[in-house]
Each structure stands twice: as structure tokens, then as C-alpha cells.
């Protein structure tokens, strides 16, 4: 008789060689978990090299997912490690919780592989893993046995071991295998041998769990208490969500989408995704460099397209001069910065939030533009639409900050119905050339009108030289310059009109507010939820808009005794908060290329509250 243990959430990590198919089964397991009603967030952990040495620690490909009833991150630690070889154990020891379960593929723990992973003796036997619940499973032998008599060769049979692991993990977490069997039929359509073999592998993994005496406990994972909104759902990684957001905004605004971009880690998937939709009104230019990428986008904006450019920190640095051209020409443009750890090339595959200063102030002259941030992979979709909306309504470049963690992480996203996304308002198209001036402004938004190149009757010139108010002619008049500098700044401050009241999680006032932005959302929300449930006076506010700040932010901050600002930088938001509101705040930083864990945030909160 096997025990079943109820858990609120569990994080599982599939790890093996790059060729072991870990990303595939990880993805599948995530969809399966969502399909049975769990919340899921995933994060892939690829090796930095494209073809690292087989069996080496550097070559371990991991896929982490966190599932349960309250899931905000891909998991601080792994509760279950599926290790396809010794290197996978070695690479992941640091993220295992004490008492975690390791499902180890016994057949790969031979002398050769142990040596490649840097073990001098077998950790499954020498007591090195005594703090963990190690279960050695002869996965290859089991698969061979299950597939006896099929037409597949020995190598192909062995390759099915990842699906055995999937079946076994399904058993461990009390997931059904049927959806996976159905999925296999679609995935390998036209290859009946492969379908049959993988199905058998999945089933034999599941049955192994049922019959093996090594496994005494399985887990049942709580479903979220709050019912999810009815509708269709899918997984998205943050970068794809940005691409879909751009496509949706263009659709809702009735405009052609133009993306000018240049490949850069970790932003390239935005460019790649949008390159696949030639049957949409989308033009994509993979430019010769970061500068040309944004330049082309600005040209396309001048000609009436919804224009965007996607990049990461080093690319953003190169784009600075052109961003300013869009600022002074007052043309709509969405700039997506998928932040990574800097300075310089830094840690290209690792995440950080250290481009905030660059986004806000990294250009010559007075160069105001709206800056907003997405906070989860799925939120990248809504944040992108919002960025487009503001760019088009206020005739301004808008900076959207995401980061490597959001960009590569995946999460379920509810697919909106077309009528759920309102039409996007475009800055007034001039109607009559009579008395029209290119820099006349809308009284409410201060946006100028948008006469796209090609429109009869509205020929005009724009450029980087200072503009005369209203006429838009170039002028060096000193008083006009100050007026225009102030007008451009004021226009951006008016974007605050678009920001809804801030939603505070936890107590609306009191001892401590944890204020975050971007991808720290999950770790902070998880920590604050747990501590607030325990009765601690703590609240969380996540900032969508960093420039301008929400109109109610100043008043909210004053309602709390302490404000803690965790950031994956040395306190950049903190600096802006202090300078605008003259308040005491406490910064909390982590710059290790890894996100905060909820535990780290919890500890800091407890310290401040003395609890």
C-alpha cells in the first residue's frame, strides 16, 4: 500500500544530457500539470554552449517547473530531481532541498559517466546523497523490457527513456498518463512505431511507480482555490508573449507591425517569432546592427506603421542616439529591453534588472520617455499591448523592460477573445491640411498628430534639430527650446492618466510595504502571501509603470512605516523613489544572475519586522 502526501506546491527538475530530451518532457509535464488544474511556472536551464561534451556537468540541460495551488516562480528549490546521468546530479545538488527525491537513471551511473561528472565514486552508493531520498531506477533496462519485440533498434529504444521518466514522474505526482498518450499520437503523427514505443515507455514508467517497492509515497498537489477565468489557455515564454502582444496591438490599432531587430541573447526569440508570420501584416527587418534596427523602426513609424525594436542591454546602449531621435521627432515606437546581467557582455544568458537607469536616463539631453515593466512571462503579453497603446496615443517612444528570466520562462496564459481587447486609439490623424501644423498638440495628451509619409496634403519635415512649437520648423530660439524641453517632459508625465489605481496585496497600510518591479514579482508575492497569512503586517505592491510613477504611489508609500525595495541591481528603482518622494526606503539587492528566492525575501521581511 502506498501513501499519498498532500502538498501545496512542488517543484520538479528534469535534468540530463543535452540530447536526452529533457526540454521536451519538461514542456509536456508542464502542460499535463496545467491540464489537471495546477498553476505552473517553468524555467529552462540550457547549457551556455551549443554542443557541450556529452556527460559533462557543463552539458547538463535542465527544465524546472513549479506546480501547485499558489505558484509565483519556477521554484526556489527542487523537490524532485529526475537525473538521467551522474552529471545531472552533480549540476543540481545546489538547488535540492534536504529530503528531496532524486529519481536517478541507474543505467547511466557507470564508471565512465561518473568520471565525466567528476565523481570519484558512485554517489548513489557512497553516502554522499544521504540527505536526499534517492531512488535508483534502471530506466534503460525497464524501457528495453517494455519495448521487447518492437521494430525499433537498440539505440532508438534507449532514446525512449525520457518518456519512461515522464511516466514515472506522472505517477509520483498523481497525474494521469492518458493526456500524454493522446499528445504522443499528435506529436509523432505518421510515425506509428515511435508513437507506440513512446506510449509503452510512458506506461511502463507509470507502472514502475505502482509496483516498485522503492517508491512508497506519492504526492497529490493542491489545485488553486481561486477558480480560473473560463477560456482557452496556452503556454508562452515571455519573449513569445511580447511578440504576440505586438501582433495583437497592431491588429487592434489596425496598423501594419514593423519590427527592426538584431539577434542578441536573451531577446532573439522576439525577432524569431515574428519572422514566422509572413501571412500577417507584419514586416520584419533583421538589420545589420542594433542601430540600424531601431533606425528602420523609426522610419517605419514615420511612414505610419506600429514600429518596435527588441534588444538587450548592450544593444540598448547602441540605440540611445536613435531613441532620442524618436523623442524629438515625437514618433510612436516600442523599445523592448530584455535585460541581462551587465556591464558590457556580462553574463549574457543570466537575468538582471540593471538597465533601469539606462532606460530612464541613458541618453543625451533631456530625454523623457515612458518606462514600464512586465512581471511574469504571461504578463509580457499585456505589458506589450499597454506599451503600444501609450506609444500610439502619446506619440512617443516607450520602453518596455522584461528580463532573461521572464523571456525564457514559461507560464500559462489565457488567450483573450478578440472582443476582450479594446481597439487601440491612435494619435489623431490630421483630417484637413488647412491650418494644420505638424507639432500642434492634443490638449489632453499633448501628443502631436500623426501624418504618415504618403498622406496627400500633409508633407512635412521632421528631424533631430529642435522644433519650433506648433510649426515644427527647426529653430535655435533659446526660449522655444526651454518650452519644448518642458512640453516633452510634461507629455510623458501625462501618461500617468492611463495608470489605474495601484493594487496593494496584503494590508493597505501599516508596518511594511515590499515594493518591486519586473520579474521579482513572483518571489515577493510568494513570500508576502505566506507571511501575511501567518499574520505579519506586510504588503506587496508591484509597479507596472516606473516612469511616470502611478499618481497614487506617493500617498501609498507614506502609509507604511517601512518600504523594502528588492531589486536585481544595486537599488536603481530605490534611487528614483527617494528622489521623487523624499522618503526613507530600504534597498535589498541580488545580482547573481539568478532571481530572488521567496525564502530570501521572507528572511529579509522577518528581519525588518523583528518576527
Amino acid at each position: 500500500m502506498k501513501d499519498t502526501k498532500q502538498l501545496e506546491s512542488v517543484s520538479v527538475r528534469f535534468a540530463g544530457d543535452s540530447g536526452d530530451g529533457m526540454q521536451l518532457v519538461g514542456d509536456r509535464f508542464a502542460t499535463l500539470s496545467a491540464g489537471v488544474g495546477n498553476d505552473v511556472i517553468t524555467f529552462p536551464d540550457y547549457p551556455a554552449e551549443i554542443r557541450p561534451p556529452v556527460g559533462s556537468v557543463g552539458g547538463v540541460s535542465g527544465y524546472q517547473l513549479n506546480l501547485g495551488s499558489h505558484v509565483y516562480t519556477s521554484g526556489d528549490y527542487a523537490d524532485v530531481l529526475v537525473a538521467m546521468n551522474p552529471a545531472a546530479v552533480k549540476a543540481n545538488l545546489g538547488i535540492l532541498r534536504k529530503g528531496s527525491t532524486i529519481l536517478a537513471n541507474l543505467d547511466a551511473f557507470n564508471d565512465k559517466n561518473l568520471e565525466k561528472a567528476g565523481f570519484t565514486s558512485n554517489p548513489l552508493q557512497n553516502g554522499e546523497l544521504k540527505d536526499y531520498n534517492v531512488i535508483g531506477v534502471p530506466m534503460v533496462a525497464e524501457v528495453r523490457n517494455a519495448l521487447k519485440g518492437t521494430s525499433l533498434g537498440a539505440k532508438e529504444i534507449e532514446r525512449c527513456k525520457n518518456f519512461f521518466a515522464l511516466g514515472l514522474t506522472s505517477w509520483l505526482l498523481s497525474h494521469p498518463v492518458e493526456p500524454t498518450l493522446r499528445w504522443l499520437e499528435k506529436k509523432f503523427q505518421g510515425k506509428p512505431d515511435i508513437i507506440d514505443a513512446n506510449k509503452k515507455a510512458v506506461q511502463s514508467g507509470f507502472e514502475f511507480g505502482e509496483r516498485s517497492e522503492l517508491l512508497t509515497t506519492r504526492y497529490a498537489i493542491s489545485k488553486p482555490a481561486i477558480r480560473k477565468k473560463a477560456g482557452c489557455y496556452r503556454y508562452v515564454i515571455g519573449n513569445s508573449a511580447v511578440a504576440f502582444g505586438l501582433m495583437t496591438a497592431a491588429d487592434r490599432a489596425g496598423l501594419r507591425l514593423f519590427l527592426g531587430s538584431y539577434p542578441i541573447t536573451p531577446a532573439s526569440e522576439i525577432l524569431q517569432e515574428l519572422s514566422g508570420y509572413k501571412n500577417f501584416p507584419i514586416t520584419v527587418l533583421q538589420a545589420e546592427d542594433e542601430i540600424a534596427a531601431i533606425g528602420a523602426a523609426i522610419g517605419a513609424s514615420f511612414a505610419g506603421a506600429l514600429a518596435a525594436t527588441s534588444t538587450s542591454g548592450p544593444g540598448l546602449a547602441l540605440k540611445g542616439e536613435f531613441i532620442n531621435l524618436a523623442v524629438i521627432a515625437e514618433l510612436p515606437l516600442v523599445i523592448i529591453d530584455v535585460q541581462r546581467a551587465g556591464p558590457s557582455t556580462g553574463l549574457p544568458t543570466k537575468s538582471e534588472q540593471s538597465d533601469l537607469f539606462q532606460a530612464l536616463w541613458g541618453r543625451n539631453g533631456e530625454s523623457p520617455l515612458p518606462v514600464l515593466a512586465a512581471n511574469t512571462p504571461a504578463d509580457c503579453y499585456a505589458a506589450t499591448i499597454e506599451a503600444c497603446k501609450v506609444a500610439l496615443k502619446y506619440m512617443t517612444p516607450v520602453m518596455l523592460l522584461t528580463d532573461g528570466y521572464l523571456a525564457q520562462g514559461a507560464q500559462a496564459m489565457r488567450i483573450p477573445e478578440p472582443d476582450e481587447i479594446p481597439k487601440i486609439e491612435v494619435a489623431a490623424r490630421p483630417s484637413s491640411p488647412k491650418d494644420w501644423l505638424p507639432y500642434q498638440r492634443n490638449k489632453q495628451t499633448l501628443a502631436r498628430s500623426w501624418a504618415a509619409a504618403g498622406t496627400p496634403g500633409f508633407m512635412h519635415r521632421v528631424g533631430g534639430l529642435e522644433k519650433e512649437e506648433n510649426s515644427g520648423k527647426y529653430t535655435t530660439d533659446p526660449v522655444n527650446h526651454q518650452r519644448m524641453v518642458e512640453l516633452r517632459a510634461e507629455k510623458i508625465m501625462r501618461v500617468a492618466q492611463e495608470i489605474p489605481p495601484s493594487e496593494i496585496f496584503g494590508d493597505p497600510k501599516g508596518k511594511l510595504l515590499v515594493l518591486g518591479w519586473g520579474s521579482t514579482f513572483g518571489a515577493i508575492r510568494g513570500a508576502v502571501r505566506r507571511l501575511h497569512a501567518q499574520g505579519l503586517p506586510v504588503a506587496h505592491l508591484d509597479l507596472r509603470w516606473i516612469h511616470p510613477f502611478p499618481p497614487d504611489l506617493g500617498a501609498i508609500l507614506k502609509r507604511f512605516d517601512n518600504v523594502l525595495v528588492p531589486e536585481n541591481n544595486l537599488g536603481q528603482l530605490n534611487t528614483k523613489l527617494r528622489s521623487e518622494y523624499l522618503i526613507k526606503t530600504e534597498t535589498f539587492h541580488k545580482v547573481q544572475g539568478r532571481p530572488f528566492t521567496s525564502v530570501e525575501i521572507e528572511e529579509r521581511i522577518r528581519k525588518i519586522l523583528g518576527a
Binding site: T31, A34, G35, V36, G37, R182, K228, A230, G231, C232, Y233, R234, F244, M247, D251, G260, Y277, K278, N279, F280, T283, L285, A287, E288, I291, A292, A293, I294, G295, A296, A297, I298, G299, A300, F302, A303, G304, A305, A307, L325, A329, I415, P416, P418, P433, W436, L437, P438, A452, A453, G454, T455, F458, M459, H460, R461, V462, G463, G464, Y474
Partner: protein, 349 residues
Amino acid sequence: MIEPVNEIERGVTRKNYLSSIAPRWCPGCGSHALFKSLTDAFAELKIPNEKLAVISGIGCSSRSPYYVESYGFHSIHGRAPAVAQGVKLANPELSVWITTGDGDALAIGGNHFTHLMRRNPNIKLILFNNEIYGLTKGQASPTSYVGQKTKTTKFGNIERPVRPLSQAISSGATFAARLADTDGAQMTRVMVEAGKHKGVSFIEVLINCVIYADGVWEQVSSKQYKPENTIRLEHGKPMLFGVSSEKGIVLEGLRPKVVKIGENGITKENILVHDIHNPNLSYILANMTFPEFPMPLGIFQQLEQPCYDDLMQDQAQSVTAKLGEGDIFKLLKSGDIWRIDENGTVHSA
């Protein structure tokens, strides 16, 4: 206040293409003559003003958009090709012209210049080559000649100059020409040809900067020296030059050589005949530098090759014909999705 152009008048004379701002180049600057020819060419091509986009970078050349009654963009240093390509791709109906200079196109904008030529979009680029940085008041440019004294080469320039035509042609320019600011008729004629060309057009114009590099082109553009020191390129015509066309070019293997008609048995039949459809020949011509050779002026080459904006539209059309017009909401619902009903029950699709 910008007056809309009357439908009937549009495209009739160059006046239709003059904005309310008069050109502000120095008196005597070659840019004035270039600008006259350019606007004459616009008139001859009858480009509707609203379909005309003049895009520039930074420098004397790049002030041009302000003077043309059209859509204009005075962008940033060296980057006009990037902006122009965005304009063209977003609205392929526009006639897009870049005005740039030797510093703008070949120093700070060298990368974009190369890739503009490589992609071959239907965009025209006019390079005002005065061998100097004018607007920043007299520093050496990438086309400054060896020995040229400027504010930054006080003891004479030691860098070999860029050969703009060689670079354009080797980068893939399908239309390439060189003109002198002293020959308005030829400038207009060639600019009209460039305008009609389907693909990227590169036109180098030798501009005399009266302030910082006065006379750098005198040997090849003045009435006095021109016949002796230049070849007027005409498709299908022999490359003769000299006051009475007594000299010409022959090819010895791949090397051009100056010969005199009547000497060593050379007749007109021996003289190299210009062929604008021969890219090998145009490259040889582009590398003929003065004073070793007379400087060729006119159209170097014109090649029929698929242009970028057409290719992009064709590809979009063929994919759309195959897949149907895309719908973002349908796209999002394709693939691995699941549905949650009103009761919170999950159904895998």
C-alpha cells in the same frame, strides 16, 4: 504653415518641389547645383509630392530634406539608410531618396551604406562628396586625398581614401554613377535614370566645398581641365577623351591603359566600349583613379536584379496564398492549448 500642392500643378516644374525654406548652403557651394538638378529630376519623374520621401543623416548634404516639399526626415549621423529602409518597407509606394555626404555615408555610416547596397531596395542615394567635413568646419574625411591638409591632418593626410564607387559596386549597388557638380545637364539626366531604376541607386557627386576644400575637384570638374582629365561614360560608346577625343582606354588583360588614337596602330575600334550591364567592367572603371587615369563620369553600371522591397512583398503574398491571411487570435488558439469551462473544469483540446 505648409501649403498643399495643387493636384494639377504637381510635378510640372522644380518649383513644385521647393519647400518654404530656401537652401542655406554657402554661396558658391556645389550643393546648390546638385539641388537644382535633383529637383529638376523630381519634376521630370513627376513624383507626387506626398509620395516623395527625402531622408538624410547629418552634415551639409543632409540639410536637403528641409528644402524639398515632400515628406522629409533629417535623421542622425550616418544612419539615413536605416531610416530610409524602414520608410520604404512600411510604405513601398514611396519614392525614397537619401542625401548624404562622404563622412556621413562612408565613415560613421559605413556599415549601413554597405548593407543598403547589398539588400538592393528601391532607394536612391546621392553622395555629396567634397572630401572634407564641412559642417563641423574642416576635418579630414574618409575620401580626403593623401597629403590633404585639414584641421585634423595638419601635416597632410596619411590615410588612403575610400573609393566610393568601388565600395558601392562591390557591396552590390545595381545602379552606380559619378557626376560633377559643374555639369547640371548630366546630373539631371543621370538622376532621372536613377529614379527610373528598380533597385538601389548610388550616385556620387563631386561637390566643391568653397570654404574648406576649395578646388579639390578642379582638375576633373572645371571647364578648362575636364576634357583632358575625364571620360564621359555613355553606354555602347567607346571611352574616348581629350579635347578632340584623341585619346582612349584599352584593356590589356584586366588592366586599363591610356592610348592615343593613331599611335602604335590604335584606331577607334580598339577602344574599350562602355557597357553599363557588365559589373566586371564597372569595377575596373571604379578603380581607375586620377591622375593615373582620366576620371570616368556618368553611369558606371545598371543591373537588373530583384529588389528587396519587391522580394519581401512577393514572399508575403506567396505565404499568404498558401496559409490564408493570418489572425492573431486564431494563431494563439492553435497548437497545445486547453480550455477551462465556467465550472473551472479543465479540458485538454
